[in-house]
Symmetry: C2
Subunit: 504 residues, 2 copies
């Protein structure tokens, strides 16, 4: 227990330390501060350089993004620097600069979302503002500011309230903000400016120029697509879960003969066993990426109406799996020598469950990455299901006469949670299968679904086909004939044990 | 398994339905659309009214916030409407409107953070912009736009990159944005405007007026404090965990004699059993509230440097507990009739573990809410620890000769996960205790720590004191004398069974 919270505890310890540091006199403290100033500056500078380097190395697109912002800003500055353009727009060019700074975002989707939100909001609020201005004029010189003030108050209050509606908050928050802004500016400044339509026109044009510059630079210069990021994030999250399960199998059920080596290896695996933690809190990132992805035009392998929502569903299931894994992780530091007999008995099916679930997740992640049918994972899902049955058989056969139930329970719980995880993996498989149908993933070739190294463990289940195992009594190999309804072909594979019929 | 994913499945089903809806001709579709138009409008209007009403009822502060935005905007509009002010500021009044719209946020902390970020960034970038302008002048008429363009490019690129640094992103993101904006505006527009200092001065003043209006309205009219929200959120999250555990005990270990009644009651509890789900994804909300809370001045029961960070630590532990609960939740729909004998044996300690952990969490939530010492929870934490020992004793005594291990395992896993949850609760207790020290919660009075309804089950452990159970051999009541080092007093309580010494 303690060890699983060690990171939290160390933070807590630091906190306490800083809270309880001795209270010296203010002069002594100031002198200390002056003394350490050059060192502090050096430290800050070194840290800054290191952070910057790391940020750039982690994702070089960040550097590119910064340069793109600079480029877009310099481009709209031409509205000022270039005489013919300045003569056309005058000081309104400022709005182009303002638009670029606030609209330019990291991903194309976010930039498009903000740009289009801004454009629509400016147009509608501008028109409404002009209308309000003319309406207020009807009330004479005394009534005009009062009516304008009232209208601004009402519209601002109503619009602010709509920002609490979750759907609007998620997609049109910026638009509503700009709507309030533009309406207030147009109706209020219109009170003192006579040529209000001309002013509105100039602003709208320059905002359009700014927005267009952002969108063009964002799409044409090394574009960063939110959709692609979401796609990769979901795949990498599933991979992290797979890595955990792979590491856990070796860690919790070490081979008795290979104990030394495994402990050595497991130290290197510790990092693998932490990766899943970032999956636990991936919800917000996934949701905002999905929101931005909707705005993006078709790009690369993604068409315009790619089923981004389905990624969120996969994300929910992946997190559910990650929660189970977090529960599992609580057992990893327990005494590995306890109840050795029982542990040895369930080691084989449990390890198989781990490794097959891990392989299934890896195949699923690969299927997302390559955008191919997830049929390669099906066999592993089947195998993990078989492993559950094997575990049940072993558990039924186990003799508990001299067993220490207290020592058995943690191990039994691990097996039970692993079973739950296997079921989660099955759900993830189903949802990725659905994604592959919705997004029309290309079907994996027959060669790739039967991996060459383990032909005897593979069960090929084609979603549209039916499986009829033909039992051959003379040896325990099985010949499967798959009849596919769309394309007629049959496939023969040998199995070392009878597979369960697919539950697709 | 299926039932725990039923909500996901229903969403998936809806998705499929919409994806596979029959493809009619475009004319027929258009006619359908026209036919349903009035109905659709009515539905949308009804939904809108319902959503609005619900949003307002859920949190009336939202309505207040909307009115506050309207008020602040109307106030700064006076810069235009009121002749003396307009003569002073002219069109620059626009910047006040702009500032109010973008700076005014729901909580005081967010408004302060944005306002102060904007003020600092505008000041520094304005000064830098003027400097850049004068520097560029040195390069003559031809060189000036080139130097200015280069400077804008470099500064915008560098500043954009700093927005990727997590620490800056969390706290100063808006400031950096405004920094880029102001620097670009001042240096670029300065190219065409002669009285740049005057312009900068006017803008700065109006931005200051706008920001000040926001902050004053935000603080003075029904303030919404981010810190208080964080405080309440953490307490309510812990309460949700407590409700789950309370409900789970009755649901999974029903009393044999009270079976019918329990099933009836459990249907009403189903909602209680879902509450914990919002805890799973509370990280982002907590972190942003904590970031805003740092900017807030002392208010109500919170002083300026309230240990907001500690709430994040409690949040981490609460989520850890919620993950375990989610794993536990996977077992709730399993067959309640299986392995009745074994279930009955461990029912008592398991239920006690549930109820004591739940009581401890409730007491902890109450301690946060009332900002009192969490000592009232200590006894429940102790009791839950005792329940673990009792469970161990029961498990040691259980005879497994004719037991069906397969049926036992889920129940044993539930007990094991409950044990883990109890340990989580202990950690939560520790971290809240730490919070109570850091934030100097008032110590609970002796009366309130020993709840009147169950005096025999209470163990009072005072953090600064020591406990010496004096065993009375003639009956199994225990007399405890507590010697408190700071304030000398002693307390006698009778116990029905010997308590374990406190592990504080």
């Amino acid at each position: 227990m303690q060890s699983s919270f060690s990171s939290t505890n160390s933070i807590i310890a630091m906190e306490i330390e800083s809270a309880t540091q001795e209270k010296a006199g203010p002069l002594a403290l100031a002198w200390d501060w002056v003394k350490t100033l050059p060192l502090n500056f050096k430290n800050i500078a070194v840290n800054l350089v290191r952070t910057t380097k790391k940020l750039g190395q982690d994702d070089p697109r960040r550097v590119m993004h910064s340069l793109k912002v600079g480029l877009a800003l310099t481009l709209v500055s031409l509205l000022y620097y270039w005489r013919p353009l300045y003569n056309g727009f005058g000081v309104s060019g400022m709005w182009a600069v303002l638009t670029v700074v606030v609209v330019f975002e990291f991903t194309v989707g976010a930039t498009l979302s903000k740009g289009l939100n801004r454009a629509c909001a400016t147009l509608s609020a501008g028109a409404l503002g002009c209308g309000a201005h003319h309406l207020a004029r009807l009330f004479g010189a005394k009534g005009e500011p009062i009516v304008l003030g009232l209208l601004v108050f009402l519209l601002a209050a109503a619009s602010s309230f709509t920002r609490f509606i979750p759907r609007i908050k998620a997609r049109y928050d910026y638009g509503v903000l700009i709507f309030i802004l533009t309406f207030s500016l147009v109706s209020v400044t219109g009170y003192r400016v006579d040529k209000i339509l001309e002013l509105a026109n100039e602003r709208l044009t320059t905002i359009g120029i700014g927005g267009a510059t952002c969108i063009i630079v964002s799409i044409c210069v090394c574009p960063v697509w939110a959709g692609e990021d979401l796609h990769k994030l979901v795949a990498s999250n599933i991979e992290k879960l797979a890595s955990y399960l792979e590491g856990f199998g070796g860690e919790y059920f070490p081979d008795p003969e290979d104990h030394e080596g495994n402990i050595m290896a497991s130290k290197g695996d510790k990092a693998l066993l932490q990766g899943y933690k970032s999956v636990l809190n991936s919800k917000n990132t996934e949701e905002s990426l999905a929101n931005f992805a909707r705005w993006e035009p078709g790009h690369g392998r993604f068409h315009f109406r790619h089923p981004w929502k389905q990624y969120l569903k996969i994300g929910v299931l992946a997190r559910q799996c990650a929660y189970r894994i977090d529960a599992l992780n609580g057992y990893i530091n327990s005494d590995l020598q306890a109840a050795m007999e029982f542990r040895n008995k369930i080691r084989k099916p449990s390890k198989k469950m781990c490794s097959e679930a891990s392989k299934a997740l890896k195949a699923l992640a690969l299927s997302i990455k390559t955008m191919t049918d997830p049929s390669a994972a099906k066999s592993h899902v089947e195998n993990s299901r078989t492993a559950i049955d094997e575990l049940e058989l072993v558990l039924k056969a186990v003799s508990l006469e001299n067993a220490d139930l207290l020592a058995i329970i943690p191990i039994a719980s691990v097996a039970s949670i692993l079973t739950e995880i296997t079921k989660c993996v099955e759900n993830i498989y189903e949802s990725i299968h659905e994604l592959s149908c919705l997004a029309e993933f290309k079907s994996a070739s027959v060669e790739s679904t039967v991996s060459p190294e383990k032909p005897q463990a593979q069960v090929l289940v084609l979603h549209c086909g039916s499986i009829k195992p033909v039992l051959d009594g003379h040896n325990d190999h099985v010949i499967i004939t798959v009849h596919v309804t769309n394309e007629e072909y049959s496939l023969q594979t040998e199995f070392s044990q009878p597979p369960k019929p697919g539950q697709s």
